[in-house]
């Protein structure tokens, strides 16, 4: 096994950027509190903290509270408080948070993973959303007894290969089955995208420039940065193609399939304009489609062009998921692509028309088996890497996508959740993201720094890795590559008889108000 696979990056706690964290439970002290410190003495989860030289405990750190599960333990603060000064209840705020796809539990679970590098100790359902279909209705079968392997996480291979063509170009392997989706300089704060690149380096994975140019801050991490070539060709220069180990042609994207990109004028600051070689304050449109590509032959010309500029680069082709996505994938293969990246309709990080996200192109869950099957039938499956994205939210979604036929996944939104995006969706509004993530606003930009982003992402992916290792072990698999196309390990609740269905975890029953 490649030694690099085993040299996992170190996880370490990174606290929330915000004073008041959001927990599943809310715990309050009333005025009866005599500041005796009993609660701080008892709580092993760090909810109650009273430093020695302080006269009163700090406000409870609510997101660490395990809630009513604590009742049966000997450290249940509510019962042990001598003054009965504390109350515990489920946090009513959660009703106003999250949505069908990213439930409040999934958001809080990922905040916790990014903070600790471990799986949350609070009872949060972070692997299933409430969408009522697709990944949220799929479960892994219960493994046969005796299959489980006695291997440590370090001995499990979660790496995937990005060049299967045997064309003499580098055999690129990344250590986790996912890499970062394109987020451009201009749409996202510089500290966020550079932080992602730093995390990609530590994780031996990749991140992607998006269509915003290649800021010099990427150079120290250039072996882990994909240069995206999209229709506006913003920031695409010979040297940015020469810098990168993988280049990505973006034909379309799941969040706005068949539509172009649009960066609002407010976000085109002097630095952004310089990077994109445009005018300050003027909105920037990436048209759709590539007007130099109207056939597979035209596409091959594009691929050849990049390969000629950089003799070591691997080519990825990013497309959306139309009815004929399988044909498109095979076309990309015959044009000489190393990676076909299909981007389903429910994902995306940047601002996009709601009508497009909901209605145009098919969800990724349908596209993966369709493309996988067709590539197998064409005899091309083992010569190209199939990457899926668009609505892949968590470690189990990644595993399900791989079992359906993908080699790996591209992740965007989960990266943002790790740095405390709450999915308010106002990425496009005037000054950009109020939480300092998707913004170029000088005031809001101060809210986040590269080291924070880097470590939070490392933490989250290491927590994801624990879930993949646990899953692979249970099925007797040593490598995540062995999971590819193992759809026989999956069930879909709607395809089971009632009795069979009862054996599996039911879908979360949140009441959503939309």
């Amino acid at each position: 096994m490649n030694t690099k696979l085993n040299s996992l990056p170190e996880t370490k706690p990174v606290r929330s950027r915000f004073r008041n964290t959001i927990g599943k439970y809310t715990i309050k002290r009333n005025s009866n509190c005599i500041a005796c410190g009993k609660c701080a003495e008892l709580c092993p989860h760090g909810v109650h903290i009273k430093p020695d030289n302080y006269s009163a405990p700090f406000r409870p750190v609510e997101h660490n509270c395990i809630g009513f599960a604590c009742k049966d333990t000997d450290h249940y603060c509510i019962e042990h408080c001598p003054e009965e000064a504390m109350t515990l209840k489920e946090n009513p705020l959660l009703e106003t948070m999250g949505d069908y796809r990213w439930t409040p539990d999934m958001l809080l679970g990922h905040f916790a993973m990014a903070e600790t590098g471990d799986l949350p100790h609070v009872d949060l359902e972070y692997s299933l959303g409430n969408s009522g279909g697709g990944f949220d209705k799929m479960r892994f079968k219960k493994p046969e007894p005796g299959l489980a392997l006695d291997l440590s996480d370090e001995e499990i291979d979660t790496g995937i290969d990005l060049n299967k063509t045997g064309d003499g170009r580098p055999l690129k392997t990344i250590s986790i089955p996912c890499y970062g989706g394109g987020m451009s300089y201009g749409s996202t704060a510089l500290s966020v995208i550079v932080g992602r690149a730093r995390a990609a380096k530590r994780l031996n994975s990749l991140t992607c420039t998006g269509e915003g140019g290649y800021p010099p801050e990427f150079l120290p991490y250039k072996d882990h940065v994909i240069t995206q070539v999209a229709t506006g060709l913003f920031g695409v220069r010979e040297e940015t193609i020469q810098n990168c180990p993988v280049m990505e042609f973006k034909y379309a994207q799941g969040a706005k399939p068949g539509l172009g990109g649009h960066l609002l004028g407010e976000k085109v600051t002097e630095a952004v304009a310089k990077m994109r070689e445009t005018v300050v304050g003027r909105p920037l449109f990436s048209p759709f489609p590539f007007h130099s590509v109207y056939s597979v032959e035209d596409h091959k010309k594009h691929v050849d062009w990049m390969k000629e500029i950089n003799h070591k680069v691997l080519c990825s082709v990013k497309v959306s998921t139309p009815t004929d996505v399988d044909m498109v994938a095979v076309g990309a293969y015959y044009a000489g692509a190393h990676i076909i990246h299909i981007d389903g309709s429910y994902g995306g990080t940047g601002a996009a028309p709601d009508i497009a996200k909901k209605n145009i192109a098919m969800p990724i869950e349908y596209a993966i088996p369709k493309v996988h099957r067709f590539l197998v039938e064409e005899g091309a499956r083992d010569k190209i890497t199939l990457i899926a994205s668009g609505g892949i939210r968590n470690a189990m979604d990644v595993a399900k996508a791989i079992a359906l036929g993908a080699d790996g996944c591209v992740i965007g939104t989960a990266d943002l959740i790790a740095v405390e995006c709450v999915r308010c969706g106002n990425c496009e509004s005037g000054r950009g993201c109020a939480r300092g993530i998707a913004t170029t606003d000088p005031e809001l930009g101060y809210m986040i720094d590269e080291a924070y982003v880097e470590q939070r992402l490392v933490n989250m992916y290491m927590a994801w890795r624990k879930q993949w290792c646990r899953l692979l072990r249970s099925f007797g698999l040593k490598s995540i590559k062995e999971l590819r196309g193992r759809s026989d390990l999956l069930v879909h609740l709607d395809y089971l008889d009632e009795e069979e269905r009862k054996q599996y975890q039911s879908s979360p029953g949140y009441k959503m108000v939309l």
Partner: protein, 472 residues
């Protein structure tokens, strides 16, 4: 070069605070009072800036509408005094089809004329009933225009309302050997109809008519309700008449270019007589999509008459009428469209569909299912700030004083909504690589349906589906 059709929008802010989703709660007794870090002052969206003014006016606080849900006030207040709940009033507006979210988006579009845009991906359920169980296709490399859908080239959203001859015939000298009636065309596949309930004051109706006139569409109204004050709207109005009362509206029909007759058995002869009397009048037949009627068969029979347009009516939420187990309009339309295609008459006539169109995406989806255009009513009321609270049905006052609306303002809001809807139509058409709304009619090949995708993608993996999702 002919002028391109554009709907000119201009912002029309709400006169009444819309019912927002979130209510911010402050536990003021815990406020430090003199905090220099007060999060209210730092709100990125300035929602607290004037939030004291409502107190003296005894009005709702403004932030009920404007909170953008960034959680910063909740997470940054030094005393943690902020929380948030879903506004109870928000839960109560609308119904299962016109959800609070649909209503709020409609208000936003009527206010701004802009397409709703958001970041961080899709938020809704994987699949839903009715139109939410279909997706539209896109093309990776085909695009109708080279400089974006709002660029120099043009995506045509016109539809015709008049009948098309089956084929043209010519004399030896090249002159036409068949009579061709005038073509009646509107620039977008959306027509209006007077709602059957709501505050329908003259000002409300004039607002709707002014908007229809401004954007070049038409509005269906009962002929009985058309009075002299509506004369300026001329052919914008499509009078709806019945067989038995047509004699009372001879004058009105002379000034109209289109009329609608309620369907009844044996109407065919009457249609012939009406056409003979008014040669250039486009005739629409209003057919209820009732479980008691074989609407596909009736549609085919009518398409063989002189009828120009078949206007089918489902209920407000797109459901079949008079049925215990109602079908959804998408499936009913497919039946009618396919029956006419089989009968070879579909290309001669037009189909308009009423019911179930609450959002822009429903326009294209209705057309994919077989209609030429849609007819809307409730969204017009919503554009004018209606809350679908049903108070008017109970004889109570309207919370947004709809009866007093200024028609200039009301029509502005409706025009904005139509502008936003049309732009969204263009987005979908553009993604599909189509340059004409007419090309979309019945084009199910440009759509993907839940049942088909499940069967094709999941069938080989999971076998037979045991739970049938109610997508009707």
């Amino acid at each position: 070069m002919p002028q391109k059709y554009t709907i000119h929008t201009k912002p029309a802010p709400p006169k009444f605070y819309p019912v927002g989703k979130y209510a911010t709660i402050e536990f003021r007794e815990n406020c430090a009072g003199s905090c220099k870090e007060c999060v209210k002052k730092k709100c990125v969206y300035d929602i607290f800036k004037n939030n004291y003014l409502h107190m003296s006016k005894m009005e709702e606080p403004e932030y009920l509408y404007t909170c953008n849900s960034c959680f910063r006030c909740i997470q940054e207040c030094t005393k943690g005094i902020f929380s948030r709940v879903i506004n109870p009033e928000y839960r109560d507006i609308g119904d299962e089809y016109y959800t609070p979210d649909v209503i709020n988006r409609t208000w936003y579009q009527a206010h701004t004329g802009s397409i709703p845009v958001s970041g961080a991906g899709y938020r809704g359920p994987f699949v839903g009933k009715g139109f939410d169980s279909m997706w539209t296709d896109m093309s990776e490399i085909v695009r109708p225009t080279r400089d974006g859908i709002h660029g120099r080239e043009y995506i045509n959203t016109c539809i015709e309302l008049s009948r098309r001859p089956e084929r043209l015939a010519f004399h030896e000298d090249g002159s036409l050997a068949v009579a061709v009636n005038p073509i009646l065309e509107i620039p977008l596949p959306i027509l209006f109809e007077k709602p059957s309930f709501g505050v329908l004051s003259p000002k409300v109706l004039v607002s709707m008519l002014k908007a229809a006139q401004a954007i070049g569409t038409k509005m269906f109204m009962d002929a009985d309700e058309i009075n002299e004050t509506l004369t300026p709207f001329g052919t914008t109005i499509i009078p709806k008449i019945k067989k038995e009362n047509v004699h009372r509206f001879a004058g009105l029909l002379k000034g109209s270019d289109m009329v609608e007759i309620d369907y009844e058995p044996g109407i065919e002869t009457f249609l012939e007589a009406l056409k003979a009397a008014h040669e250039n009048l486009v005739i629409s037949v209003g057919l209820p999509l009732s479980a008691a009627l074989n609407y596909a068969e009736i549609g085919v029979a009518l398409s063989n008459t002189v009828m120009d347009t078949l206007h089918v009516y489902a209920d407000y939420n797109g459901r079949e009428l008079h049925s215990q187990n109602p079908r959804f309009i998408k499936d009913m339309l497919r039946d009618i469209h396919v029956a006419m295609v089989k009968a070879g008459t579909r290309r001669q006539i037009n189909i308009l569909a009423s019911g179930g169109v609450s959002m822009a995406e429903h326009v294209n989806k209705t057309i994919i299912c077989g209609a030429d255009g849609v007819v809307i009513d409730r969204p017009l009321l919503l554009a004018m700030e209606c809350r679908l609270c049903d108070r008017c049905r109970k004889g109570l006052s309207c919370p947004v004083k709809l009866e007093e609306i200024d028609p200039a303002y009301g029509s502005n809001r409706i025009i904005n909504l139509m502008g936003a809807w049309r732009n969204q139509m263009l987005e979908m058409l553009g993604a599909m690589g189509l340059r004409e709304a007419r090309r979309l009619r019945g084009e199910v090949g440009r759509s993907m349906w839940f049942e088909d995708l499940e069967k094709e993608s999941f069938g080989p993996i999971f076998g037979e589906r045991k739970i049938s999702l109610d997508v009707g």
